[in-house]
Each structure stands twice: as structure tokens, then as C-alpha cells.
């Protein structure tokens, strides 16, 4: 599944958060997005997932040549696009197994999710309530699994590696590698190089600052940016504006 974003301008709570994003991700590609806190990375993924709070003021989102800009979130999921959230709400009344059953009955069983369930050790979490009193690693593992249960063709992964220990990181990157080798399209937001180095393939890296993509390049750029920090690259954007 391919995704094209054209000149996307987004507001939330009356504030302009995304200020003209252009992005093209071809079927089966893996793209990485990095950028400082508050750059708008999550907002971009929320907008692609269709969360109504993020109001598209201008531009389009095209999924496999269909304009999905006005679709509801669940309609996008049905088309094969699913978001793994950076932060998950603690829903202390819904059991993991209840949501799991609903998703399985809606989307059927898929091989990738079955493998992920093993690798991410979901069985221990099944009787818990959604994200309630879960550790950072448990949340990320569960959220990744639930995302895969929707049988997606394109996944948006928002910091799957934040706040997880080394062992969990290995499991999570193993699953992401399965996603990549199953030829799913993948957009991954991260703050760290180590997960990226664990991936079997990275097609492109984008740097976001202040609601814009300021640079897109090959994987090599990542080490450079993570070493020197975002300041210089983001200042260049400011200079351009001035």
C-alpha cells in the first residue's frame, strides 16, 4: 500500500501544528521520521490515522490512489492503515482479551499477529485491563500486537522503542522486521538510532522541525543528525523562512 501526502496543513485547538507536509511512501517501503520534541511527528501520524481533533486545513492524504482525507479513523483501519500510538489510554474497564476478540472477529486471524503474539509475550497480558498499571515495555508490546490484529497493510509506529528495556527492544524490533519482510509499508517515528540499526531495511529518513519536514535522505543521514542534534538543521528552516 502506498501513501502520498500533499501540502498538508493541520490545526488542533485552533493552533497550526503541521505547516505544509509533503511525503511519499511507496508500497513495502520503510520510512523513519525523527525530530525534536514537539516537532509534530505524532500529530502527523494522528492526522494520517484520521483523529478528528487534527483538522486538515489544506492538502490531501492519498492511500493507494484513494483520497482518504475525510474518512473516519475506523474506515481507514478497514482500508488497511493502522496507527500504533505513542501514548495509550488506560481503560480500566476493558479487558485486553475483550478487545482482542473483537478485533479478531472483525479482521480475522492473520499470521503476522499470531507470530507477534508469541514474540511479544502477550499471553501474560490477556487477562489484564487495557494498559492499566502496565509497565512501559508491556504497553508498547501490547499496542504493537493490537495494531497488527487489524491486519494492516500500512503501519504507523509512533515511538515503539521509547521507555522499553533492551530485551523488549529486541522483541519489538524482531516484530518490526517481520512487518518489513512481509512487505508491509511502514512509517516509524523514533528518537534513537539503535532500533533503526536493528531493522533489516530502511528506505528513507525524514527530519521534522516545527510542523515541517526539513530534510529527507538515506539512512546515513540519521547517524549524523542524531550525533549533532537537531538544532542546526532546524535553524536552517528558520533562516529560510526569514
Amino acid at each position: 500500500m502506498s501513501l502520498i501526502i500533499e501540502d498538508l496543513h493541520v490545526e488542533s485547538s485552533g493552533r497550526e501544528i503541521l505547516r505544509g507536509i509533503d511525503l511519499e511512501v511507496k508500497e513495502g517501503e520503510t520510512h523513519i521520521i525523527v525530530g525534536p520534541n514537539g516537532a509534530g511527528k505524532s500529530s502527523l501520524l494522528y492526522t494520517i490515522a484520521g483523529i478528528p481533533k487534527y483538522v486538515v486545513k489544506k492538502g490531501r492524504i492519498i492511500l493507494n490512489s484513494e483520497d482518504i482525507t475525510r474518512l473516519q479513523p475506523h474506515e481507514r483501519v478497514r482500508r488497511g492503515l493502522c496507527l500504533m500510538h505513542q501514548f495509550q489510554p488506560q481503560i480500566k474497564t476493558i479487558k485486553v482479551s475483550d478487545l482482542e476478540n473483537i478485533l479478531i472477529s472483525k479482521f480475522g486471524i492473520n499470521e503476522l499477529a499470531v507470530k507477534a503474539r508469541e514474540i511479544l509475550e502477550i499471553d501474560n497480558l490477556r487477562n489484564r485491563y487495557l494498559f492499566t498499571n502496565m509497565s512501559g515495555g508491556e504497553r508498547k508490546r501490547l499496542e504493537l500486537y493490537l495494531t497488527l490484529l487489524t491486519n494492516p497493510k500500512i503501519v504507523l509506529l509512533d515511538e515503539p522503542d521509547s521507555g522499553v528495556d533492551v530485551d523488549s527492544l529486541v522483541k519489538i524490533s524482531e516484530v518490526i522486521n517481520l512487518i518489513i519482510s512481509s512487505s508491509l509499508t511502514c512509517i516509524l517515528v523514533t528518537h534513537r538510532g539503535d532500533i533503526v540499526n536493528m531493522l533489516r531495511k530502511v528506505d528513507r529518513v525524514h527530519v521534522m522541525c516545527n510542523g515541517k519536514i526539513v530534510e529527507s535522505n538515506g539512512k546515513d543521514m540519521l547517524d549524523r543528525v542524531l550525533k549533532s542534534g537537531f538544532r542546526k538543521i532546524c535553524e536552517r528552516l528558520r533562516d529560510k523562512r526569514e
Binding site: 490515522a49 478528528p52 481533533k53 475506523h74 478497514r78 493502522c82 478487545l99 478485533l103
Partner: protein, 392 residues
């Protein structure tokens, strides 16, 4: 209470005569004076059959009654117990006929219609079912049950109430007294499914012996004109009670009052109430824990979700401490489901309606860990029905 059962009717009569200005009570009495039907009683049946409804009351006549008299269990019409004056010390032991007009009506006009159940020491019985049905317009259904659970015994009861769609303007007025012995267990599930012209008044009184365990589950999800439900549980030393009530109110007025009185040392109780309101319903829920016993503990959790702007939910938690060494707490909240939770679920492929239903199901789901499997299925079915009806 050392009052003789024979006096009860007289006390009630006197009390009612003083209430002649109460229009509703007068109206009920007039109806009761007109129609009096003799109960129809079935012959003795086996214990296995008790698993289904052992007794059902249709309007004001007993349509089915299964007698049991074994070394572990006695089930008989309350009326016979009163006439024979056998085991009557428990009848009207937890309520007084001049406490409330409705109790007086039961005492004077109820004809002791209801069941007497006694579980013998060491026996475990259940679930037994009772069933109340109203079919005739204008019926006043009066019920009085007495359940006795001796020491080291257990009783599980499933009580369902329903009225046919075309039976209008009905009153269901009931008193259930439950006496639970030492180290015994009592579980009761009450399910109300009336129509919107029904007026309900019901009182459940429980005396919980030392070390006993009481589990009460109350579910109502039908429109009703007016519902008043009262539960009063007195707990002795080391006894504990959990009461969970789920009300999905649509139209009509619902008032529930659940009180636990922690009399004994280390007695404890948890009162949980979940309320959903819609279509101009008014729900009032009062939960009260009175802590008198040394080291007694209690917790109240009242959560309400108004599903539209036309309905009203009032939630009143009351904690009353009589000592310094007791521990009482409450948590009360009213508000709609969080936007964040709904949004999250929609990004996992549920539409808004499905997300709401899942949240409603979670909200009303009662902890059924302590409920025996057969009853658990019943409660799950009831919750399914509730969620189905809440679909927008």
C-alpha cells in the same frame, strides 16, 4: 424483635388507618380490597427441579410452588409457616410493619404470599429461582419471602421480575428477609425487567452472622415508571458483604438505597453502583456504610454516565463512623466516557457506536469471580441485553 406474627396484621392495620391522607396508598388499598385470589399450590417435587423456578407468582396468585422438605433444605409457602406457627421467629424479624406504608400493605394484605426457604447447617443449595410476573392491568403484587441460611451453609438465589407489555399500571411491592448464620454464604441476583407503567417498591433485609459472606447483585435495565429499591445489611463480627448494582435507566424514576451496617468487629463491605441514564430518566442512588464495629472497613464506589442531556443522575455516598479505628472510603464520579478512550478504539477499527458499546459493557460488567458459573451465565446474558439495548 419479640413481636408475634399474629400481631403484625393488627399493627399494620392501625398504622395504615393513620395514613388515610396518602392518596397512593389509599388507591392501592382500594384495588387490594376488590381482588383477592386464592393461591394455587402444586404438589411436592424433587430438589433437582428447584434449580429452575421453584416458585412463581403471577399477579397475586402463586402459579407454581415446589415443596421441598429434606434434611438439607425446606421450601414451603410462607403462609403455611405462619399458620402452623412453626419457625416463625424469623418472620418479620428484620422489618416492622409500621416502618413504612408499603411494609404495612404487605403485612395487612399480602396474605404471606411468598416463600420460606431454610438451608440446613452444612448444606449448599443453589441456585434456586424465584420469578415474579405481572399480566393483569392494575395488579398490586405483594410479596414476602423469608430465607434462613443456618450455620456453615450456603444459599444462592436468582430472582427475576417481569411484566407483560400490555399489563399496565402495576405495583410490585416486596419484602425479603434473609437470616444468614455463622460462617455461611448468601448470594442473590436480582433482575428487574418491568414495563414503563410499573411502580416498584422493594426491600431486602439481611442479617449476616459472624464470618458470613454476602454477595448481592442487582441489575435493572428496563423503563419503569417509578422504582424504589432498598437494601439493608447488618453484619456481625468478621462478616463481609459486596453489593453491586447496575441501573440502566430510561424514562421513569429510579431510587436505590443500599445500606450496610458494620456492627461486628472487623466487619466489612463494598458497595458498587453503576448508573447509565437516558431518555429523561432520573436516577438517584444512595449508598451508605455505617461503621460501628471495632476495625470495621468499608468502601463505596459510585460511577454514573449520562448518555444524553435529558436525564439526571444523583449519586450520594454516605460514610458514617462511630469509632476511631474504622476505615471508610468512597469514590464517586459522574461523567461521559472519555473522548480519548473512544478515539483510541476508533483508531483500532471500531466505529464510534461499537466503541461506545464496548465501553458501556466494560462499565456495567460486574466482578463475577465469586458468583457460581450457572448464575454467572445468567448475569452475562442480562448484561448482553443491557448493552444491546444501549445501542444508539
Amino acid at each position: 424483635m419479640s413481636r408475634s406474627v399474629r400481631d403484625v396484621e393488627k399493627i399494620a392495620e392501625e398504622y395504615l388507618s393513620k395514613l388515610s391522607s396518602n392518596g397512593e396508598i389509599r388507591e392501592i388499598i382500594a384495588r387490594l380490597e376488590i381482588s383477592r385470589r386464592e393461591p394455587h399450590i402444586e404438589p411436592t417435587c424433587s430438589i433437582e427441579e428447584v434449580g429452575r423456578a421453584f416458585y412463581s407468582l403471577v399477579d397475586s396468585s402463586i402459579e407454581k410452588f415446589s415443596y421441598v422438605d429434606t434434611s438439607s433444605l425446606i421450601i414451603r409457602p410462607l403462609k403455611e409457616i405462619v399458620i402452623e406457627e412453626k419457625d416463625v421467629e424469623n418472620v418479620w424479624s428484620l422489618a416492622a410493619p409500621d416502618e413504612d406504608p408499603h411494609l404495612a400493605l404487605i403485612a395487612k394484605y399480602g396474605d404471606n404470599r411468598g416463600a420460606y426457604v431454610r438451608v440446613r447447617s452444612g448444606s449448599k443449595i443453589g441456585p434456586v429461582r424465584t420469578c415474579y410476573v405481572t399480566k393483569l392491568t392494575g395488579t398490586v403484587q405483594l410479596v414476602h419471602n423469608v430465607y434462613v441460611v443456618e450455620d456453615d451453609a450456603e444459599l444462592q438465589v436468582l430472582s427475576t421480575c417481569t411484566s407483560s407489555r400490555d399489563a399496565l399500571d402495576i405495583y410490585h411491592i416486596s419484602l425479603t428477609e434473609v437470616i444468614v448464620g455463622r460462617n455461611s454464604r448468601f448470594t442473590m441476583i436480582m433482575y428487574h425487567n418491568w414495563n414503563e407503567t410499573t411502580k416498584l417498591w422493594s426491600s431486602l433485609r439481611v442479617s449476616a452472622g459472624p464470618e458470613s459472606r454476602i454477595v448481592l447483585i442487582y441489575v435493572t435495565h428496563s423503563p419503569i415508571e417509578k422504582a424504589y429499591d432498598q437494601v439493608i445489611v447488618r453484619l456481625s463480627e468478621n462478616a463481609s458483604a459486596t453489593s453491586s448494582s447496575v441501573i440502566y435507566g430510561r424514562r421513569g424514576r429510579y431510587h436505590t438505597e443500599t445500606t450496610t451496617i458494620l456492627e461486628g468487629r472487623n466487619a466489612s463491605s463494598i458497595l458498587i453502583s453503576r448508573m447509565l441514564s437516558a431518555e429523561k430518566a432520573r436516577i438517584e442512588s444512595v449508598s451508605k456504610i455505617v461503621a460501628r464495629g471495632e476495625g470495621s472497613r468499608g468502601h463505596i464506589e459510585c460511577l454514573g454516565v449520562p448518555l444524553d442531556d435529558s436525564s439526571i443522575i444523583t449519586s450520594v455516598p454516605i460514610l458514617e463512623a462511630h469509632r476511631t479505628d474504622v476505615q471508610l472510603s468512597h469514590e464517586a464520579a459522574i461523567g461521559k466516557f472519555s473522548e480519548e478512550e473512544i478515539t483510541y478504539l476508533t483508531t483500532k477499527g471500531l466505529d464510534e457506536n461499537e466503541a461506545m458499546q464496548l465501553l458501556i459493557r466494560g462499565f456495567v460488567s460486574i466482578d463475577l469471580e465469586e458468583v457460581p458459573p450457572t448464575l454467572r451465565k445468567v448475569v452475562e446474558r442480562i448484561v448482553d441485553e443491557l448493552v444491546r439495548r444501549s445501542a444508539v
